[in-house]
């Protein structure tokens, strides 16, 4: 009797989870495979004809292959900003953890503000315009770095506390310069948290909608999320293509999740994370 119970509870939980958490994804999938007229009924029925390729090609071809450009832009922004983030925040986290200085208090406040405060959008747009960075990919990268520094630094700071100082001192005695200690000794040891950080930040930046909406308008700068948002009004009569597009933005995180499940969970729980 006792060993049946886990199965009963599990079974009920499984059923509930399936309905609540899996059904919407199934809905996306089957809508994406339907024909235009069938999808417009919005019903939860299997497609009569399976139009995976046709819909996929139609979505990519829409508006002069805008989606391909969007994937390119989003990938570029994500890769560039995450690379900068990793280096800069590891440096800050390292000093904050290792050295006692009055600047730590300042950094602490800055971190806290960065986690909590919503960015002041219109003044940022004004600033970007003055610097000639408004509506540019590199401007967007710098914004993403600035906005995500806090979380990233917190992750590093707590991890660096687990690396013994003896290592730094040994390297120092061997005559290594401070930057050599960091880049040659410490940074390689940070690999686990770096992987976590890369994965978590990449997902956040790739999925970001609000910041590109404000700082990166314009057809040539579209990102994946913006394209999806714009397709929503364009495809009011073509739900099959809209859902194919949603399916396409859902697949990258799914793949990342399959490979980096453990790191994501570690990163999200350790830092406590943003939104």
């Amino acid at each position: 009797m006792r060993h049946i119970r886990p199965y009963v509870t599990g079974g009920i939980a499984l059923l509930f989870a399936a309905v609540v958490f899996i059904l919407p994804f199934l809905f996306i999938l089957i809508q994406a495979l339907k024909s235009k007229s069938e999808a417009s009924r919005l019903s939860f029925s299997l497609p009569q004809e399976w139009l995976f390729w046709q819909n996929l090609i139609a979505v990519f071809k829409a508006r002069d292959y805008q989606l391909l450009l969007a994937y390119f832009n989003s990938t570029l922004i994500t890769v560039a900003s995450v690379s900068i983030l990793v280096i800069l925040s590891a440096m800050v986290g390292y000093i904050m953890q290792r050295r006692r200085t009055p600047w730590n208090a300042v950094a602490q406040i800055a971190l806290f503000m960065g986690l909590m405060m919503p960015p002041a959008v219109v003044p940022t747009i004004g600033l970007l315009q003055n610097l000639g960075l408004f509506k540019t990919i590199h401007g967007m990268v710098l914004i993403q770095v600035a906005y995500n520094l806090s979380f990233s630094t917190l992750l590093y700071r707590s991890f660096i506390s687990t690396i013994p100082r003896d290592l730094d001192e040994a390297a120092l005695i061997d005559g290594a310069k401070p930057w050599q200690i960091f880049f040659r000794v410490i940074l390689p040891l940070l690999k686990p948290v770096t992987v976590t950080n890369i994965v978590v930040q990449s997902i956040a930046i790739f999925n970001d909608f609000t910041n590109p909406l404000y700082y990166l308008p314009g057809k040539e700068n579209v990102t994946v999320q913006l394209t999806l948002y714009n397709f929503q009004s364009m495809y009011t009569s073509q739900y099959n293509l809209l859902f194919m597009n949603i399916l396409l933005v859902t697949i990258p995180p799914l793949i990342v999740f399959i490979f980096f499940n453990r790191q994501i969970v570690a990163g999200m729980t350790a830092g406590g994370v943003k939104g």
């Binding site: 315009q129 408004f134 308008p217 314009g218 057809k219 714009n230 009004s233 009011t236 009569s237």
Partner: protein, 426 residues
């Protein structure tokens, strides 16, 4: 070897030639248009024709998004001096927000202006100077109706609001949707208010002026409140489609085209989308002006098309003006009416309407034939239009807010806009 040298010399000569060429003729103009398919198609056809006529000119079309985002792009590019040599933008209040006196080149002396409709000129002018030439035809704002339904129930086109409501009653009794509303696309909710402007100005002729001078208000002008009241009446009578809160613009077009609904208040630019998405139903769709209280004073509220402008900061104003002249010519007008579905009468004197226009356009023509049966919408005669109108009309049309309160709220919204524009008296 010698061949190589020859080739080298030849190409060097060629480079020298092409490098020297721009000195006398070759010009490249940039032309910014919004990315709606109609605008792009018309712009491409015009550019192609113009380049044939003026082979030394190359015009490169750039696209921008429409809506609020597009407005921002135009404003910032003008402010930063990065605007294209020629650009397409709205006429009326949105143009006024660009401060044309400072930012745009005066196009009063472009020859084509002689044949441009004076009503149009008035909506692209500031301080007595004309800044644009029309790009496209005029549009009407009113009510699309399904002719098949009208025939089936023996209804006639209403000339008064009471007749309109009586028609709706019959249609509802027959189990059809009387009026389609589509609040998923919030902007579609404004029509009953905006398209009532002909009736408003017929009742209060100096409303636009007083309104701009902060003397007249929606809430304190009974004729101005009518639009909000009508919207509420139609909602309260249960004439709407059941899913009006979630339906989209495209749903609205489908409903009126296929006879799911009898009426859909909309601008006639929808004829383009109707032709594209529901070509087999196009002849079932007719159009009438939003009726007012008095059948004798039935007239149409008109929306003016976008116009071509030239920024004052452009280094190629003279060349750009020649292109603008072409766009504003009878030939340019014909190219546009041939490229896109005609949405209303052309604004160039001598520019004919194509032979086979859909009934919704034919229905509009009588209003234009007699002077005084059309009036430009308020947004063309006053620089102020509050940005929150579409949310407010959604509220009225959903029964959330009453017309009096909504009108007062809209007056507040307008005040913000007037102050931002720096108008006097506010």
């Amino acid at each position: 070897m010698t061949i190589h040298i020859k080739a080298y010399l030849a190409s060097a000569a060629l480079i020298a030639l092409t490098a020297a060429a721009p000195a006398h003729a070759e010009v490249t103009l940039s032309f910014l248009v919004d990315n709606s398919p109609d605008s792009v198609a018309a712009a491409e056809a015009l550019v192609e024709a113009y380049q044939k006529q003026a082979p030394d000119v190359t015009i490169e079309i750039e696209q921008r998004p429409g809506g609020g985002e597009g407005d921002n792009i135009v404003k910032t590019r003008l402010a930063t001096g990065e605007m294209s040599d020629v650009f397409l933008y709205n006429s009326g209040s949105l143009l006024q927000a660009l401060k044309p006196q400072q930012s745009l080149a005066d196009l009063s002396d472009v020859p084509a202006q002689a044949k441009v409709d004076p009503g149009f000129k008035s909506v692209v002018s500031a301080d007595g100077k004309v800044y644009g030439v029309p790009f496209g035809t005029a549009m009407g704002g009113g009510i699309f109706y399904n002719r098949a339904i009208y025939k089936e129930f023996g209804l006639s086109v209403p000339k008064t609001w009471a007749e309109f409501m009586a028609n709706n009653e019959k249609i509802k009794a027959a189990g059809k949707v009387a009026v389609a509303q589509t609040y998923r696309d919030t902007w579609t909710s404004q029509l009953f208010v905006l398209a009532d402007y002909y009736n408003l100005q017929a009742a209060v002729p100096n409303f636009a002026e007083d309104y701009t001078d902060n003397k007249a208000k929606y809430a304190s002008t009974p004729a101005a409140m009518k639009g909000f009241e009508h919207l509420k009446e139609v909602h309260d009578a249960g004439f709407f489609n059941e899913d009006f809160g979630a339906a989209s613009y495209d749903d609205g077009l489908r409903m009126v085209a296929t006879g799911e609904a009898a009426h859909y208040p909309m601008l006639t630019f929808a004829i383009g989308a109707l032709k594209q998405n529901y070509p087999e139903n196009l002849n079932d769709v007719g159009f009438f002006a939003q009726p007012g209280d008095d059948a004798a004073k039935n007239g149409l509220t008109v929306w003016m098309p976008q116009a071509i402008y030239i920024p004052a900061a452009s280094g190629k104003i003279e060349e750009a003006k020649k292109f603008a002249d072409f766009v504003g010519s009878v030939e340019g007008c014909k190219i546009m009416t041939d490229t896109n579905t005609v949405q209303g009468p052309p604004l160039i004197d001598g520019c004919p309407l194509p032979a086979d226009v859909p009934p919704a356009v034919t229905d509009m023509l009588p209003y234009f034939k007699t002077a005084g049966l059309t009036a430009p919408a308020l947004e063309f005669v006053s620089p102020i239009k509050g940005p929150a109108l579409e949310q407010i009309t959604v509220e009225v049309g959903s029964g959330i807010r009453g017309p009096a309160e909504a009108a007062a709220l809209y007056d507040d919204d307008v005040r913000k806009q007037a102050k931002q524009l720096g108008l006097s008296n506010w």
